[in-house]
Symmetry: C2
């Protein structure tokens, strides 16, 4: 097989950029043997050309001038690994205008400005490949888009943020507080110095927007997604939930109801300990997908990190070079937002089970007050846990698990409960998510 | 997006054929919305056109004449779901010669005659797509070939036969004998009336041949694979292994050593209970793959059945129709067997840990005899288990777990042990496979 040379330009020489450079340099022979394509790293652009990096580039290819990449017509593929949304967007637009296909890991940019970028790509007859934008090295985008394309996908449940999963796993395993676990995650390199985007759930929402748009075939905007982070999770709730048989995970959830309404949510979720996702620990990611033909499929692996993410970026580079990405991209049809708008379910409408913890005064009649408020809101109780022991203001914790209930009923009940004189601390409410497991019949 | 019509011909209207027909008929609108391709089932060929099927075909497309499909030039894609190797091979060759791309789920045929078929496809400038040949609905072939292409894949461990996994799961969970569990699997439709190909490991070997050839980029022949089935597994060994912390699975294993030798094996394997694959139960499949960049990735789902397999077949039909399969197929470079021959490791050379059960006379000096034979063969013991209780001929079971040992040392020791007058039953030997788990560092 004659080898075909493929020149690649890289913008952003940070952690993932170094991984991509290393993988291209070290695996060029093996990739050529497998695919017939010889990848050549022709140009690496970064504003910082001085700092030492863990990879040694060929002489003369590192530059701070994007023009070097843009003006080199032999470079057909531009990889944007700058991150963020402003500069990155301009860089992608410029690369597309210069006739280059774009490969990116930038979930924030695609989630916020995907439509505009896809349109620009179509205008220039180019494509954008973004396998690395979700779940690091796990080939989840091609899995959904190609492998499961024949399915009507009814639901997906994903652990797609390794930082949050590391923190929640540590809190669970070692009975640590959120801040203790966060500090340790930062020390181990699993959380950034400013972890805001991870722990507030927004990073997971970015990924859900991308995954859901492909799985359900409709344009998804960030504002369509209910987003709650893990910042206020307490180890007490993890422990009480554990006693009730649950493990706490930050899940990205996309569900299609029978009337084709799509519900999109990112929030801390109690899931059954026996569920496969409950056993995904530390910085790992996993996504369970349900299709009408395939049943349940789960993908598991490292959702971040230099080399796992580079694995996905280079896979995309090869897919683009083969021409397959262009075909897939051209045939990717997302129902536009104005049509899809009506089918995105309203947050208040969705039904879930709930874990509610109240810190109440230890006095007669409290249970009756709580019970009446729940009954008035048509909320049915599936379990109650009350431990001895004292909280602030001499309170005791009462933990309630509900049967499936509409979100707005629970919101109303929480408001009423919070107004009770005997409830001394703002009630804690965490959703219980009953992930179906496809089982032996 | 203008829709493109794609006419599909199907040969083999059995279980999977019915699933494919149903999926095409029922999902045509949804697939067209997602991809712009409108699949049309133009022709279904089967020798049996009379038996009732669980899907209703459009009038007039079912025929017993393959020529109807071959001579219709508007049909660009032929799906072979006949199974077996003789007729199926001729059908594929005829379809390729008639200018049709081929989609198939036929692992036996590809494992045994893949090279010849691939060559025929190349000669006619056609492609063969075979996602459905391994692990049913799990997109494992595209996962390896596309998603993990940038990796040097160092190992794969797969549960790829749902029948065996169902039987072993039942034996483990319910302390059943092999024949009891097999009967139940047959009753539930998880094992065929003649289950030979499944339980003797050959079906797993077919799949391993296909997966390993793609993962390691070299031609694999069935004779390169060590194959042992589960027919002689006893519930006693499952129980003793369980007491030592292991679960018994039929694993398909491909490993690349540091000197690039590839070891390929299918055999009953004791794996640690904590390993992710130990929790894959019933008819499910899962494959853990290790790549130098991505680390561990696991794929999980239904490995067989009408609709899961149909999911993969229809995904391939779409991939072929888009033109992507042709590109992937054209660029798939397998190192030819005559070059690869030298890199396939010899069976006797491979190193494993072993579980050995001896039924010995309960008399003084037996342990010393056993110990001397193991020592003479340089086999180091990692654990011993002896229960009270009697076996045939008034024997007691002695179970030994070894440290990593070369296969030929163990083979020699087993021969010596079997010759001992105090060892009354042929020794049982099951490999212990220490699957690495990619962990939080």
């Amino acid at each position: 097989m004659a080898e075909e040379n493929v020149k690649v330009g890289l913008v952003g020489f940070g952690t993932v950029g170094c991984g991509v450079a290393r993988l291209i340099l070290e695996q060029a022979d093996s990739i050529a043997a497998k695919t017939g394509l010889r990848l050549e790293l022709a140009c690496v652009v970064d504003t910082d050309t001085k700092s030492p990096r863990p990879v040694r580039l060929p002489e003369g290819i590192l530059t701070d001038d994007l023009g070097t990449l843009l003006n080199d017509d032999t470079i057909k593929i531009g990889v944007e690994l700058v991150g963020g949304t402003n500069a990155a967007k301009q860089i992608q637009l410029q690369m597309l205008a210069a006739g280059k296909d774009v490969v990116t890991a930038n979930k924030a940019l695609l989630a916020e400005h995907g439509s505009e970028l896809y349109e620009a790509a179509r205008k220039h007859n180019r494509c954008i490949a973004f396998e690395a934008s979700c779940a690091g090295g796990i080939p989840i985008i091609s899995g959904i888009r190609t492998g499961l394309v024949a399915n009507n996908i009814t639901a997906m449940y994903g652990i797609v943020n390794g930082t949050c999963n590391y923190i929640l796993s540590s809190m669970t395993a070692h009975d640590e507080s959120f801040s203790e676990a966060l500090a340790q995650a930062q020390q181990k390199g699993y959380a950034e110095a400013d972890p805001t985007l991870d722990i507030n759930g927004l990073d997971s929402a970015h990924k859900l927007a991308i995954l859901a748009s492909i799985a359900f075939g409709c344009e998804v905007k960030l504002e369509d997604i209910l987003v709650e982070g893990i910042e206020s999770v307490s180890k007490d709730d993890i422990r009480y939930g554990g006693e009730m048989g649950y493990v706490l995970k930050l899940l990205a959830i996309g569900q299609k109801s029978e009337n084709n309404r799509i519900s999109l949510r990112v929030h801390p979720s109690f899931i059954a300990k026996a569920n496969r996702l409950a056993r995904v620990d530390g910085p790992f990611n996993a996504i369970s997908i349900f299709g009408n033909a395939v049943g349940q499929v789960m993908f598991y692996g490292r959702g971040a990190g230099m080399m796992p993410t580079a694995s996905a970026v280079v896979a995309d580079i090869i897919d683009v070079a083969l021409g397959n990405s262009a075909t897939t991209f051209r045939h990717l049809h997302l129902q536009p937002k104005d049509e899809a708008g009506s089918v995105i379910a309203k947050t208040g409408d969705f039904v879930s089970r709930f874990y509610i913890r109240l810190m109440v005064k230890d006095q007669p009649g409290v249970f009756s007050q709580i019970g009446r408020i729940l009954a008035d809101n048509a909320i049915s109780i599936s379990g109650v846990l009350q431990h001895e022991g004292r909280g602030p203001q001499d309170t005791v914790p009462v933990v309630i698990a509900t049967h499936p209930t509409r979100q707005n009923k629970v919101t109303a009940a929480l408001r009423d409960l919070d107004n009770l004189e005997t409830v001394c601390v703002k009630p804690v409410c965490i959703r219980i998510v009953d992930i179906p497991e496809d089982k032996d019949q």
